[in-house]
């Protein structure tokens, strides 16, 4: 077994069956083969509608694959996510598989600092330690300290996105999935994210991401994975 291999997609396919839209079948992914190794950063490229976000969601087990296999190295063994139980998926998400989407899911009344700290608490960190680490990350991402105790519902798009990145990166996870996490950030903050990703890779994480911005892509990608829409839109 290749000890570096973290994620192994084999003949992966995804179609949506829309029962109330004339039983439409939407074929989005087919025959995807991709291997992701520790320390690399593979960037999904291709036009809008190519299925890039769908692919990340299938790997995160947010969408269920229609065909093929998604094997994740979790806890020193292979976990087939396509057939894993909900409890196995939740455990993989807690400890192995991170996902940062473009938008922060705001939880009413929960301050930014606690939103960021939560993934560390879920793996058993001390609350004080988790909050301190959350503060360090927010600080690096230039989220002003006066915002930390406020729920991010009223933050700007860029501020919410940085809270989301901090939350997504705070727990050291071996596989990171990133869906345009820097879309509304300025150049300075994009540079911080690139630096954080570089550190995660040095620490051994494998990164699979979507980055629209070419400058960002050049900075973080070790390899591109090109994708094309299966059906004309």
């Amino acid at each position: 077994m290749n000890t570096n291999l973290m994620l192994d997609l084999h003949d992966l396919g995804k179609s949506f069956e829309l029962h109330h839209q004339h039983d439409a079948h939407l074929h989005v992914l087919d025959g995807i083969r991709l291997q992701l190794h520790a320390g690399e950063c593979v960037v999904l490229s291709g036009p809008s509608g190519a299925g890039k976000s769908t692919l990340l969601r299938v790997i995160y087990a947010n969408y269920r694959p229609s065909r093929g296999s998604v094997r994740l190295r979790h806890d020193g063994r292979w976990l087939e996510l396509a057939s894993a139980t909900p409890h196995e998926v939740l455990d993989a998400r807690r400890r192995t598989l991170g996902y940062v989407s473009q938008f922060l899911r705001v939880i009413p009344r929960v301050p930014a600092l606690d939103i960021v700290a939560e993934p560390l608490l879920q793996i058993g960190a001390e609350p004080a330690q988790a909050r301190q680490r959350a503060g360090e990350l927010l600080h690096r991402l230039n989220v002003p300290e006066r915002l930390w105790q406020l729920p991010p519902g009223t933050f700007s798009g860029g501020e919410q996105q940085r809270v989301n990145i901090a939350r997504g990166l705070i727990a050291p996870r071996p596989v990171l999935l990133l869906d345009e996490p820097t879309a509304s950030l300025d150049a300075a903050n994009r540079a911080v994210v690139a630096q954080l990703l570089a550190e995660a890779r040095v620490a051994g994480s494998a990164v699979l991401g979507i980055f629209h911005d070419e400058d960002m892509r050049d900075r973080v990608a070790t390899r591109l994975f090109p994708m094309q829409p299966l059906e004309p839109a």
Binding site: F16, E17, H19, H20, R57, Y63, R64, H87, V89
Partner: protein, 256 residues
């Protein structure tokens, strides 16, 4: 990790009418499971049958009690079932008036279930009750007031305190936020979310509100006509619904 609750082929009929039919699931410690579906789909029937408040027409419910022993609920005496409800379980009803004792003080409402467990010391009961009122954001100065004078949201928070004060291992909740104003709901949901995390509660919660499931539950079961039509991780069910009924449920939420 081993389950806390095992439900197998559970059915409950009302005469020839189906309440719930052939439902199976497991619940693990520390896990909150939501049951969603429209009115009349059998959610309350299922919850009450699992909680041994209704007798099943078929199937079984097994519960692993505090000492690790598995109990077959259908084979327990009424006294044993009452003991479980008192010592290991909690039940939060939709209408707080059904779960509270309206003619006694807020403090007594919270203390009552503790007294049933043998806590007798007045000062201790009072200080625990005060602490729980604070935890559910009720001014402890109102400890001697009867809940009849409380708003609906306050009554529901009091019922939550009354239920959780005994640190139950398993909590059943039937639409605990239905019928309340949206802002009041948000406060109760936030409270439940925090308490569930802090106490590591296992809970089965009925709701017709998918946003509630998204916020609180890692897993969700969808019911239609008394049957479970889809079950899985809450985010899977909401973002990639498979069953036609779930797709309808999710899309009607998105358009309202």
């Amino acid at each position: 990790m081993s389950a806390l609750l095992q439900v197998r082929g559970l059915s409950r009929h009302y005469g020839r009418r189906i309440g719930c039919e052939d439902v199976s699931f497991e619940l693990h410690p520390g896990e909150l499971l939501c049951i969603v579906g429209e009115s009349g789909s059998g959610k309350s029937t299922l919850l009450n049958t699992v909680a041994a408040q209704l007798a099943p027409s078929a199937g079984s419910v097994r519960y692993r009690q505090r000492d690790g022993e598995w109990l077959e609920l259908g084979q327990l005496s009424e006294a044993d079932r009452r003991r479980l409800a008192r010592e290991e379980w909690g039940f939060v009803t939709q209408n707080p008036r059904d779960g509270l004792r309206l003619n006694v003080s807020a403090g007594a409402n919270v203390a009552e279930r503790l007294m049933a467990l043998g806590v007798r010391h007045y000062g201790q009961l009072r200080s625990i009750a005060r602490g729980w009122l604070e935890r559910v954001e009720i001014d402890p100065a109102r400890i001697d007031d009867a809940p009849t004078g409380f708003s609906g949201g306050m009554q529901q928070r009091l019922q939550i305190a009354r239920t959780l004060v005994t640190q139950p291992r398993l909590v059943f909740m039937d639409e605990p936020t239905a019928g309340l104003d949206v802002s009041v709901q948000a406060r109760i949901l936030d409270l439940l979310r925090r308490l569930v995390n802090e106490l590591g509660l296992a809970a089965v919660m009925v709701t017709h509100d998918l946003a509630v499931a998204r916020l609180l539950a890692a897993r969700t079961m969808v019911m239609q006509h008394g049957r479970v039509v889809e079950t899985g991780l809450t985010d899977q069910i909401l973002d990639d619904p498979q069953h036609p009924y779930t797709q309808l449920l999710v899309s009607s939420v998105l358009t309202t």
